[in-house]
Symmetry: D2
């Protein structure tokens, strides 16, 4: 697979490295609005630079990885589909539902392998949890608890364009919830506060949130978010069922333990997503390439992006209206 990468920023670099390590993918081209960034990354991996506009017409390109800024995603996704190229698009497709639905229509009429960057599904620990749930290890799944905290809040400027905590951060948790609960979510209730950075509150957003999801069959899911955990990236999931409980725990750099003052001490959780999900990014590429080869659906696709966004919309509305929102209200 000859792949073109659009976007040479932080997340683009993560993907470039994963692509480089993959035996069946060649990083053929890099495009970035900011030319020097594209050049530097292209040079590092022996790729060409391309203009984002020409990528889609290039016959030597089989697939496009969209890691550019959010407002460009939907447009690039549609162009890739129309050009018949496989596409791995960073989430979200768009911050609003209408634009997302539009992109999905284009994909429907121009079917290509389309994967969405919900990287957590590819994390070995969460994948093992999913597998164990599906195998019935905990019997009937009854409640799910997702704790997801970033190490530090983004700059206040970022908040304004982010779409708010539910569309920007909780979106990953909504996807994990959907994936693990494995049935439609019927209702959403959300609460939030601004406890960390008053600038976030001034921008109309919250930095601390709690969401409750209720599935069709009555399963309950709790999501707890914070924009700042001083000890690092806090990424835990607990699945509880009739036959037991599964807990995905935080990961540290080493298992080295010190005993003395001030007690029995192990290392802090990994600092952020680059460290915590390094392996997930590799598996994401694996899955994308394999889906393309086998002509099967990737683990997370465009519709998953739409469904997670609907949950974010419902959460936002619930927080404002102080009531349980049924998903039927969101369209």
């Amino acid at each position: 697979m000859r792949l073109a990468l659009i976007g040479a920023g932080r997340i683009g670099k993560v993907h470039a490295r994963a692509i480089d390590e993959h035996p069946e993918v060649t990083l053929a081209a890099v495009a970035d609005f900011h030319a020097p960034a594209a050049e530097a990354l292209a040079a590092e991996y022996g790729a060409r630079t391309l203009d984002a506009d020409t990528v889609f017409e290039d016959d030597e390109i089989d697939a496009v990885l969209i890691a550019s800024s959010t407002p460009t995603h939907a447009d690039y996704l549609e162009r890739a589909a129309r050009a018949g190229k496989a596409v791995l698009c960073e989430k979200p497709i768009a911050l609003d539902l209408a634009r997302t639905v539009e992109a999905l229509r284009v994909l429907e009429s121009h079917p290509v392998t389309c994967a969405l960057g919900f990287n957590r599904r590819h994390d070995p620990q969460f994948a093992a949890l999913k597998r164990a749930v599906m195998e019935g290890r905990i019997g009937n799944l009854e409640t799910l608890t997702i704790i997801s905290r970033d190490p530090a809040p983004p700059p206040t400027e970022y908040i304004g364009a982010s779409g708010g905590i539910f569309r920007d951060m909780t979106i990953h948790d909504f996807d994990m919830a959907r994936w693990l609960l494995n049935e439609p979510i019927a209702e959403v209730h959300a609460e939030g506060s601004c406890l960390i950075d008053p600038g976030i509150g001034a921008a109309g957003d919250v930095d601390t949130a709690m969401v409750t999801l209720i599935t069709n069959s009555g399963r309950l899911c709790h999501i707890s978010n914070s924009r700042r955990a001083c000890y690092g990236y806090d990424q835990r999931i607990e699945a509880f069922g009739s036959a037991g409980m599964l807990q995905a725990q935080n990961e540290s750099d080493t298992r080295l333990r010190f005993t003395g003052e001030p007690g029995q001490v192990e290392g802090k959780p990994k600092w952020f997503f680059l460290e915590r999900y390094a392996e997930a990014y590799r598996h994401e590429i694996d899955d994308f390439v394999d889906a393309w080869k086998q002509q099967r659906a990737p683990l997370a696709g465009a519709d998953d992006g739409l469904q997670a966004l609907r949950l974010a919309e419902a959460a936002e509305r619930s927080r404002h209206e102080g009531r349980r929102i049924t998903l039927d209200e969101i369209d």
Copy 2:
């Protein structure tokens, strides 16, 4: 302190043992509607049996521990107060607010040492967590997560008289939340499902519940309940703040670990409250006796019972109405 115990059932026996081990309290008398139960327990500890009606007139009795059935609590509490006896009353004072408020008025006009049986405040691990939070170990407390699951659901007959999961089970978690959050709770949102025992649903109750509490300053608290955890009594609390996180973990009988098939295995959590809170029951008696001697307020008093009940009322209403309830609506 010469103490009379009213109620010789399961919880009465737990208290009798804790009283017996305490150097400053004598179990002077035992009363129970069912005479043989009172006689057996009295014999075990060398106490007299008394009729519950005469306990309050007995000059040899300094204090009364009310461990009889819930509908009798408020009445006995008032009689103890009027008789000028110290009283340790099992929770709840009553299942409805009006009756509880009435009992509190009697206590106001007849002030005695009055402790309420919120045993978890006396658990060494939760007490250490509270102390650490108060000492600023985690900076500003922002979110609290309480997971509380019983090993097995009560008989369906019990459900009808229980007042429902929020008044019967979550009440303990509401008290822990109030105690740890250390500021008034402003709003409540609750959801619930019947996933374990259809009989519970038929009785109009749920067996699985999730509650969100919001304090005046915007702190968020999540409570997760289940009437059945196949692995035992699941009692965990996580306090998250600006400078870190504190987690009270489950306790097992031993720290013995096996490694082999099927992995690295440690024991299950303790089975139920008798095992898990054995030490808490002892500390509860300590606190009660000390409060009586020092003429100070015990760690949990009648008003704590009222406030927890108001949260339960709000939760029940929220679950039915599908909206966030402000505490001002509850009176």
Copy 3:
């Protein structure tokens, strides 16, 4: 059982409390060379004081617990046996083999219930480990690793009279090894250094030691001792076999965990034997009373004291001679 306690020092007090909590034993009398100590302890539990010499002639006494200083043990043990009284004797019977053997001969000719204070056999965690080994949980036991470290070294004056680290401290580990290996130990190798307190070295002893034991069938056991662990009482055992491994881990006051600076922190191990083995001391009394009632052998008896002492002798000799000592050489 009406029991007389000889010795009202630190360990005597531990036993007094365990006796007091036991429903079937009455602390009838306390004797101590230092009269005020006996009087204080007797007063606390409503017991008489007695002269150690008259204890054995007192018909109201069924059993004697010897918790006086080491040089008096053998003599009191023999007098108890001759008087037909059950006896629970703190370890060691004596610091030399000849005196120990003599005492055992008296016990042979005057058989009474005789328990030796190897308290660790009564620890719930070690007992669970033993049970699991006996039930075949790890298949054939092949190696045993015992780590045993005191929180702080004793005063140098104590060292001189202690008989050295192997007779004084490792003796407990020798007993655990014998109990868990469950077959005769054939050979001993020991090494030691003085790394903590030069005063200990000056007294001819070591403060840090490692011992290897080899059983008849070739099982290997490692014992690691230190007279000082700054973090508390380090008491761990690892049993390794063909089907897995069992590890008895240190115990802390709570399972409370803090995450923040400097990492994920749990409490230090319990400080010393009073805290760590509080429950073991209670079970020791249980076993003694039950053995007396059932006329069965207690969990640890006089011969176990002799055999542990032989291992200590062998270790001492091995350290000095720099060679593997066979137990046949010790008599």
Copy 4:
């Protein structure tokens, strides 16, 4: 660095992959006695095949990695040195001291960058432990405990040519002990049994061993080995000192925990060295390349191989003679 790999077996493949991932090394050539093996590996990474004999004369080769069978190591090492090529040699240089000393002499007269394959020094967890010890985290290091167990014994045929457990398996632990104790080891005592596979005993070897090392200053080190741990590769180190303890714990594939029957279960340790030390092999190449570029000594060199072998010799002799061996006796 253009590197030639001699040996295309299991360990050769591990190195090939690590080399391939390294940005500054090119796998230029592969040699193997068994030509098809060399060809397959060379093809996988786009390298040439070479005859082992011509490798050393090839001007296009900067460095040689010796991963062929043990009897060839010393010879290839000398030829690499004489040819002025950097060399990374799998341990051991040879199974006997004389041959090893001879090779070291050649290295002395033909100084090249020479690294020895003590991969464990490059493990992130052990490296963190070393760093913490050197930074004084535990004060003065007093005792070291190394537990090292393979998942399954090698075929009996292998045992004969292995040099015995101390030269073949414990050699890694001897190196870790030397590295962490950071001072000369003065004395060795070793014991061993054949408990797992009678064929190993028939070959004159043991499958279960315990070694005690004593350093010049009296520090004590315990090594425990088993050729079979049914639960996987058991690789733990505990460093104990005046200010605390450090423990390197086993690593599992995930931190996923299940609670239910039969308890609280986490995954088994990683199965064997390929999994457990995958990262160490990458760091080993890093260190080798960097040492070559900086003209500095690599983390482990030829003399470390000699010193570890001397400890193995001493252990073997101690086991046979039943006495403490001083290193001065080994030359």
